[in-house]
């Protein structure tokens, strides 16, 4: 590959007034031997851009170093074909002159270092080779309930083939056997027959030429990657296990729904005392039976115990939900469903009194209309309070309910003929064994090179269900990682579909508690993500969060020591391994974060434009003054590209000074930092290393889930290296930084610089 380097230095936006640009040009020429090195006073203007374009055409420049503003600015202007031109942006404005005193030697040195780092990177960077392939684009929908049916029909509507797998003999899922639901469009103040629309949807799915349906079936295994998943489908009935069918699909919508919370665990609320104490689901079944599956509109609700018409009934809300000992979350649908059931009682048994015992009534949005209507009904009593006792009087065949802390002070006693427990939703996300760590075994503890390679510990790794639904043949576990309480939900507020298994999107009430109205929308969103994933992947482009990135890591396998750290630490389970522990990388599952590259102790993993070697050469290009004066301390900063780097930009926009001792290298994620860089930097004479990256823990902000946490964990391993070099461990520090923490940066940096000064200069300086 030709390496025709062109360095273009902008002197606009006060760069020329703050720096000696002529000197910059000269040092850039001396250090980097470019084909072209010039300055221009308005590089992003038409004249400046044309200059670059002409050099590309005439002088065959293919490695551009644009030393001007931040890579986040003017991207539309400095926009060259990434497959043939490498564009390296050097941030002389936000990261140099806007945060440093003008016409100062240290500011000048800062600018020189940044240009040399940019040039070193540009020289070593190769062009991406996108992995363009013909891929299978069929959508596998697991689950034939409301969400699954909608996912299937909506995929077919955009022309995609669908494989729909339903474990039961009929489609329609949970609601199918029930009676009524609340209205699915404004004003949401009525009840409608549950099968309204559902039978039609089922028949549309069943008659669609694009949808292949497997009923009575389940997933035996899923292997492969987006665009090339191999799915084994087997009969749900184990006795009939002979036949396994193989299907190839492109992406997966997991719409496995929910099950009611186990009723027998509600014995503390009297479940089991009498048949007249039943769950909301059992009440629905009773309605369905009494209405002869919806054939009859009017019927009398009768007691299960003796068949007499119910005259008083109480509902206990949050039966199991919002309870640390049962389901810690709110099941979201039970308030509306109890109000609906109350309305049906009042319609069919007009003399009946209905009590709804609740903590908070949750009828969000326009569902409030339904609640308001129920409040107007004189036969419905809303009782805010906590149930303190349930008893059954066998003689009178009555159920006693004691409620304390009611709105009107004090306790009340109710005697009712029927009691309904509004039990919650449990996601069907596979059988989870809580308290068990993911079964990750530490690999070969020493590497071939003799470098220490301590076992990696899965950091904040989510619980992965043992088996049941998708049965992924993935190294990191069989099911979707659980975010909380078994819901494989996204932890990103801005990106609700971001699952941790590329190409697999949970939808509906398996993802979070939701009703049928929202499940329909959710199914559509998941389908969009499913087809988007295969479309982007087939073009060789990454999906979220590095959408459109065409690079991906290469594994130099002959040098692999089978330590398994990459396969363990990949946040997205993209890497499988063979029996020996050699990684089997799946580029279609990869999100391009570089966590594997950071993990690898023998540095065999690299991207075309981002690698241990490229960053090492950037570090090597730094000028480290030997004279130990205050201004000569050198601090290397690894900054997360998405949050810390922009925070530095914003600081610049606000023209707030920052120590000129720092040299910033943006990284895809702190998790991509390879420990060798610390050694490279410290042996070069860098005095301290500061990591600026995202928050970790339960509310992690790292877009690669656990990159920043892994960086923190790996720093533990670093101590040994530092000890070997006889260096203080305080020379490396990680700070969790949010985008908006820019005002804290001066203090963070100054504090660290002072710490390093107190330790004294790196003794390796000048070696």
């Amino acid at each position: 590959m030709d390496n025709n380097l062109g360095i273009y230095i902008c002197s606009g936006c006060d760069i020329g007034k703050s720096l000696n640009v002529e000197r910059l040009v000269n040092t850039a020429k001396d250090s980097n031997k470019p084909v072209v090195c010039i300055s221009h006073e308005f590089l992003c203007g038409p004249e400046g851009v044309n200059l670059i374009k002409n050099d590309i055409a005439e002088k065959k420049i293919n490695k551009l170093v644009i030393a001007a503003c931040s890579m986040r600015a003017k991207q539309d202007v400095f926009n060259f074909d990434p497959l043939t031109i490498h564009t390296e942006r050097v941030n002389l404005r936000e990261h140099v002159i806007w945060i440093s005193p003008p016409n100062d030697n240290n500011t000048q040195l800062l600018a020189e270092d940044y240009i040399n780092m940019g040039a070193s990177k540009a020289k070593k960077a190769a062009f991406p080779e996108p992995l363009i392939q013909d891929l299978n684009k069929t959508v596998l929908v697991v689950g034939g309930g409301i969400t699954g049916l909608n996912a299937a029909i909506n995929s077919a509507k955009v022309g995609y083939e669908v494989v729909l797998v339903e474990k039961k003999s009929n489609l329609g899922g949970f609601p199918y056997s029930k009676y009524k639901k609340w209205e699915t469009k404004p004003p949401f103040d009525k009840n409608i027959w549950i099968k309204e629309g559902l039978d039609e949807l089922i028949s549309r799915v069943e008659s669609s030429k694009r949808i292949k349906i497997y009923k009575n079936s389940k997933i035996k295994s899923v292997s492969g990657a987006p665009g090339k998943f191999n799915v084994e489908i087997e009969p749900s009935d184990k006795d009939n296990a002979a036949e396994v069918i193989n299907e190839t699909v492109g992406s997966i919508v997991a719409a496995t729904g929910w099950k009611p919370y186990e009723a027998k665990k509600l014995d503390y609320l009297g479940y089991g005392l009498t048949p007249d104490i039943l769950t909301n689901v059992e009440l629905e079944e009773l309605y369905s039976e009494l209405s002869e599956n919806g054939k009859s509109e009017s019927f009398t609700v009768k007691r299960k115990s003796n068949g007499s018409a119910v005259k008083s009934i109480a509902f206990i809300q949050c039966a199991g939900s919002r309870d640390e000992n049962h389901l810690p979350y709110c099941s979201t649908v039970c308030c509306m469903s109890s109000l609906k059931e109350a309305a049906l009682i009042r319609k069919n048994n007009p003399d009946a009194n209905v009590y709804i015992i609740y903590k908070d009534i949750r009828t969000p949005g326009e569902y409030e209309n339904f609640y308001r209507k129920m409040q107007d009904d004189e036969g419905i009593y809303m009782v805010k309070g906590a149930v303190s006792d349930i008893s059954y009087d066998k003689g009178n065949n009555e159920i006693g309910v004691k409620v304390k802390d009611t709105l009107f002070g004090g306790d009340i006693d109710l005697n009712v003929e029927m009691l309904v427990l509004a039990s919650g939703m449990v996601p069907n996300s596979g059988e989870i064994e809580y308290g068990q760590d993911v079964n990750l075994t530490a690999g070969n503890p020493t590497s071939a090179s003799g470098a220490s390679c301590p076992p990696s510990i899965p950091v904040s790794t989510a619980q992965v269900a043992k088996s049941g639904l998708l049965n992924l043949a993935y190294r990191q576990g069989k099911e979707m990682p659980d975010l909380a309480y078994g819901f494989p939900d996204s932890n990103f507020i801005c990106f609700p579909y971001e699952s941790r298994r590329t190409g697999i999107y949970p939808a509906g009430s398996v993802r979070m508690p939701m009703d049928t109205v929202f499940s329909v929308d959710d199914a559509k969103g998941a389908v969009l993500k499913a087809i988007q994933c295969v479309e982007q992947t087939s073009k060789g482009k990454a999906v979220h969060p590095r959408s459109n990135d065409m690079t991906y890591p290469f594994f130099d396998l002959p040098r692999c020591t089978q330590c398994k750290r990459c396969t363990e630490e990949c946040p997205f389970g993209a890497i499988d391994e063979d029996e020996k522990g050699t990684p089997k990388y799946n580029p279609e599952r990869c999100r391009r974060c570089g966590v594997c590259m950071g993990a690898c102790p023998v540095r065999i993993i690299s991207f075309k434009n981002y690698s241990p070697d490229i960053v090492a050469s950037m570090i090597k290009s730094l000028y480290i003054p030997e004279d130990p004066t205050d201004e000569n301390y050198r601090i290397l900063v690894f900054a997360c590209e998405n949050d810390a780097y922009p925070a530095l930009d914003i600081l610049g926009l606000n023209k707030i000074n920052l120590s000129s001792n720092i040299r910033v290298i943006p990284v895809r994620c702190l998790g991509s930092i390879n420990n060798v860089w610390y050694a490279d930097a410290l042996s070069k004479g860098i005095d301290g290393i500061l990591l600026l990256g995202c928050k970790f823990g339960d509310d992690y902000q790292c877009h690669f889930v656990k990159g920043s946490e892994l960086a923190s964990y790996r720093m533990g391993n670093l101590k040994e290296t530092l000890t070997r070099l006889v260096l203080e461990e305080e020379r490396v520090r990680q700070i969790q930084l949010e985008f908006t923490d820019y005002m804290k940066l001066p203090e963070i940096v100054e504090d660290f610089v002072n710490k390093i000064k107190s330790l004294g200069p790196n003794p390796y300086k000048g070696f």
């Binding site: 606009g12 810690p328 979350y329 949005g365 559509k524 459109n548 949010e738 908006t740």
Partner: protein, 432 residues
Amino acid sequence: MSELNNENPVLIIGGGHSGVSAALEITEAVNKKVYIVEKKSYIGGRVLQMYKYFPKLCPPFCGFEINTKRIKSSADDNINFLVSSVVEEINKEKDGTGYIVKIRQKPQYINDNCTVCGECAKVCPEDRPNDFNYGMDTTKAIYMPALSTFPLKYSVDDNYCKFSSCKKCEEVCSYDAINLNAKENIIELKVSDIIFATGWKPYNVEKLENLGFGKFRNVITNVMMERLAADNGPTGGKIVRPSDNKEVTNVAFIQCAGSRNENHLPYCSAICCMASLKQALYLRDKNPASSPTIFYIDLRTPGRYENFLNKAQIDKNIKFNKGVVGKISEDHATGDLLLDVEDMLSGKKNKFRAEMVVLAAGMYPNIKDDLKEIKIGGDIKIDIDENGFIFNENYEGGIFSAGVAKFPLDVYMSGQSATSAALSVIQHNAKL
């Protein structure tokens, strides 16, 4: 992907979180152009004015940064913006293939040459109230509108700029980026589909006369609280009250300010409980001596948001009072507020003194009023309900909604609805 049968772009009205999400989800799935029409001079919408999101207490900018990167790296110039623009007319295309839309774009005084060097604002002599901070501070008449402005350039407020009688900014700009003689543009687009992603505004709580907003300076709204807490806000992130800039400790949050009230907003705005819990938590974090009290009817924290409620309830300095605030009056001597509270748990009427009151103003869908300003062809079906939400989409006509234009939703659910709307658009154009 099968081919699309309509090459015209999609019109997305509103460049907030929902509109931008819908644009990205469409263009990353199919080769289709979109036009985002945004009233303000920047993309990002109301969420950029938030200090932190619930339940993670993370800043909105980190997701926005990813979205702007997605826009910048998108292929084929498929994502287009018309900022400072409003839709004036929508008519059906005669051949039935979509709509002809007339858009009015305010004069673009600043062109793409702008490098945000900031020299213009240094010489600008005029101040304007800063709408980004709900008028709690000022900027120059030429200004950077938001923390993470996209497209990255300055704006001119034509209500405050003196134009030809000043021109100082034009003179100082080295990049020929300012033209104060710029004229407005009328743009006509043929579009295949329309997504309403028009968002919301806080309910005008001055209408709740008993609560004293507009009369008493220390009664503020939840959205103003976000700006007070923000480091880039009018107080640099110090939560102080407007009357005397005193750091507040005893703050009353009044839930359902307008919402769940048939005379105001009959619906539940769905986000205000979580928002007030968030604000109480960050107030506690910023000022450990603080003791917020939340006056509520029901605490609505669905799904795993329950966790967030638990987090607030564990803090004994956050008080919960199920009660209705009947009236607020001011103690003129101190600027404190006196609340008449009917405690629903005890039935007693109590007085409560607070240094500052935060009204949890409900979400009012913008489209309810905006639709009145747009001339819409009589044969176009836009099913807007009595509260101003477009819940029922027009699948045959290719008219969809996302975010709070559809239903009272939080950021997370707005993203869901935008992704769903993106699929609707593709379905509407799929050549099968």
